[in-house]
Symmetry: C2
């Protein structure tokens, strides 16, 4: 039906835009029209930016961050504390922690979590390279902060990583559980409330 | 802050994606990561589709639809009823009506509505070209359906268009007002309810 409205090139653009997270078929159509209307201000620079990303983007060989060079901006920053590695599931988690500007450490992106049901084992994740980084001869690592999601798979992965580092004197920590800042108790699950009560601190 | 996380090329891609309607700064970041992860399946074809759109997309010289050739797919379709022109504000309205597959007519995109406060007068809209289409020597037009939005500006524009066609025997109609299908009365404004009662029909 919509095939007859406009040319196949534009339909293809809409279909591809609809594959972006956050855009559905309807908003992809709106986005495509917006792009076409703002040809010079938006479509042209965006096409160029995508071409450039396509050409230059790579994964950091050290930590797995997405960047245009390897080692990435973070790994090659001399002001970063190399004694701490924050282990995350995904690049998006790394970026989220960086946005919060909470720690001046380095990172290690696992690229997922252990999930036997989905056939994802340790060899599918960047676990071996992490252990190597930690145990390496020139390693300055003192602490591993396991910042995986608080899901069953995340916790399984955390335990697996801990097992791999048995026998080293690396301090292994995990993120605190509790009530999100600004969160309402009424909307929280019981597990979170239990954790928040157990880890309560003096006011 | 986020400057230090990744390269400027990726930041630029994120900033441009954030300008798309429906994507905010956070979802643009997610979309950019998604694109980078699916380099071959998504980023590459999308960059190509944008390049192609950039090169080929144009406005239909007859109706103002967005297409890759002019006259557009609709205007050059011999099965379309040329006696009816549906006048819309924007290409997105044309596409919405086409998705509903409600009428096999031709269209005329005004490119906006009259808005003295924003400095938008009749000369800024495709009104003269519409009148020309309607009054032209080879015109087959019998009916104009004014399908502008039900806003004050839309209605002002509708009245202006009607004035331009005084003296012709063109039938001028507008969309019905009433309760949206699936809509709940409780959430509707009074104007809509008044219109729905006034235009009630026999059950």
């Amino acid at each position: 039906m919509s095939k007859s409205v406009t040319g196949p090139e534009i339909e293809r653009l809409i279909q591809l835009l609809a594959k972006l997270p956050g855009l559905g078929p309807r908003s992809a159509r709106r986005a495509a029209l917006h792009l076409i209307k703002k040809k010079d201000q938006l479509l042209s620079p965006l096409a160029a930016a995508m071409g450039e990303a396509l050409e230059k983007v790579r994964l950091c060989e050290t930590c797995g961050n997405v960047d245009t060079f390897s080692p990435c901006t973070i790994c090659s920053d001399p002001r970063r504390d190399r004694s701490i590695i924050v282990v995350v599931e995904d690049v998006s988690d790394l970026w989220a922690l960086e946005r919060a500007a909470v720690i001046n450490a380095t990172y290690h992106v696992l690229g997922g979590v252990l999930s036997p049901l989905d056939g994802i084992g340790p060899e599918d994740l960047a676990i071996a390279s992490m252990v190597e980084r930690v145990k390496g001869a020139d390693s300055a690592v003192r602490e591993i902060i396991i910042a995986v999601n608080a899901t069953v798979e995340g916790q399984t992965t955390a335990h697996y990583i801990t097992d791999q580092l048995v026998g080293t004197d690396i301090k292994i920590t995990r993120l605190a559980h509790g009530v999100p800042v600004g969160g309402e108790l009424d909307y929280l699950d019981e597990g979170t409330l239990v954790a928040a009560i157990k880890s309560r601190s003096r006011f």
